[in-house]
Amino acid sequence: MAASTPVLEGTPQSRARSFAYGLKAGDELAYVLTLAAASAVILIVALLVYQLWISSRLPIHKFGFSFLTGRTWDPNAGDFGALPFVFGTCVTSALALIVAVPVGVGAAIFLAELAPPKTSNALTFLIELLAAVPSVIYGLLGIFILVPRIRQYLAPALRDVFGFLPLFQGPFYGVSFLSAGVVLVIMVVPFIISVSREVLMAVPVEQREAALALGATRWESTWDIVIPNASTGIIGSGFLALARALGETMAVTMVIGNTPQITASLFAPGYSIAAVIANEFTEATGDLYLSSLVFLGLVLFGLTILINAFARILILTTQRKGAQS
């Protein structure tokens, strides 16, 4: 701001000019501050990945890839293998999804297609509140309410009907893959419902009408036409739910039984990656033990990144497809 006439101190012009300078400096300050914050986010994540990586150096060096396939977890002998935990994480998450997807999509259909708008909104609100319940509370209810009920009703029923499958054989004490799976179902269903309901509502009304006009029943139009239209979004919601289930710690720790083993029976106690880290991190003696746990954390992180990326791509594809029609 070159001045052609000199400005005296203390005059209105000088005050105005210093105000203007202050503003301009404020502008630059704001830009720098916000840019620093944005960069800080990137730095934090970079630091996180880096930390995980270098803290895992020991087991990476000692076990290499066989860490992922090692079946024994023996801190005393210094032998660490991730397979029982990967197994447990995958089994409980898969079990959770197998039940949660049909139930969740079913409820989403009801909310998107059948329920009157006000009821649908109210119920969705309540269901979304379920997603806000902390994990440890699910664990609390899991230990004291769910597990005894499963032991009393569900496990015997499963054994009676499906006992010929190795999945449902063997003694059942309560804490088990099954219990962890059931708790995860409850925790993950609200996400599936929330996303699926939105993608179902986004299917254009004309598609539904076209099916109805051909003489399809309500259910046929939903199943044959609306759901395929929304299918990528629904699958995406499944992946998001899967990512949540994989990383779920407290509720699973409290009901899975904390026994590293690989077995075909869902009735047996097991372990998951997040659970073993939660349980043993503060008691790990020795660098190899601790860093093996960190390595497990890195494995889990990698898994969730992959699945989240997949899910986002899928959901984006549905949105774009819907926008075209």
Binding site: E206, E209, A211, L212, A213, L214, G215, A216, S325
Partner: protein, 274 residues
Amino acid sequence: MATPHQQLQPITTRPPAELTPPPSSAVPKIRAQHLNFYYGTFQALHDITMDIAANQITAFIGPSGCGKSTFLRTMNRMNEAVRNTRREGEIRLDGEDIFKLDVASVRRRVGMVFQKSNPFPKTIFDNVAYGLRINGVRKKSIVEETVQLSLERAALWTEVKDKLNKPAGALSGGQQQRLCIARALAVEPEVLLLDEPCSALDPIATLKIEELLFEIKNLTTIVIVTHNMQQAARVADYTGFFLLGKLIEYDNTRRIFQNPSKKETEDYVTGRFG
């Protein structure tokens, strides 16, 4: 409600549609009696009484918001999907009260083609086959035959016969609309309702559809809603003029356009409003 034969000047270059004698059977294909329809508290249809003749083309004309589409959609009970609606009065299909029949059955017998084409995100073949499959026709040979026949009737077969497995969305607007017609025809409806089927199409595509309507007239009864008077004049045997939810006049198309008996009709068809 047909009128006696009369000598009239042709109003288009198309050979004039014959003044058909009244249907010999006493039972019209569709009979509406004292039909009232409400969206919430708004009354969209007032005391509509009319007969739709079998195997003829009947057109509904009238300005926007006059109720012609609402009435059309009542005939295959599509309006029931909208919340907060109420209906009084009767509609009979071949003498049967459609509101007492199972709704999906009614819709199979009374098909509909919509204003904007809405093919399913499936292949061309699967689009046409869909109606067959849900109605229990599974045998491959029958399905293939019917799909071909329907596409031929919709004047689309030659254009798509080599790409039946391609997605329907790849077709042009006019082709998609003919696909929707083929899809509707595949379930052999007794009545075909068309809700302004050409409003989103160019004149050539429109012409193709109008020509195919003539061809399929003997297969099914056609009711078409159109905001384009000339289309009604070109295509329809009978025309009903709607205004503000009332059926003002319903007669042989020639009569409506050349010698209407109500003033409102005359004002509309001569372009004084609408």
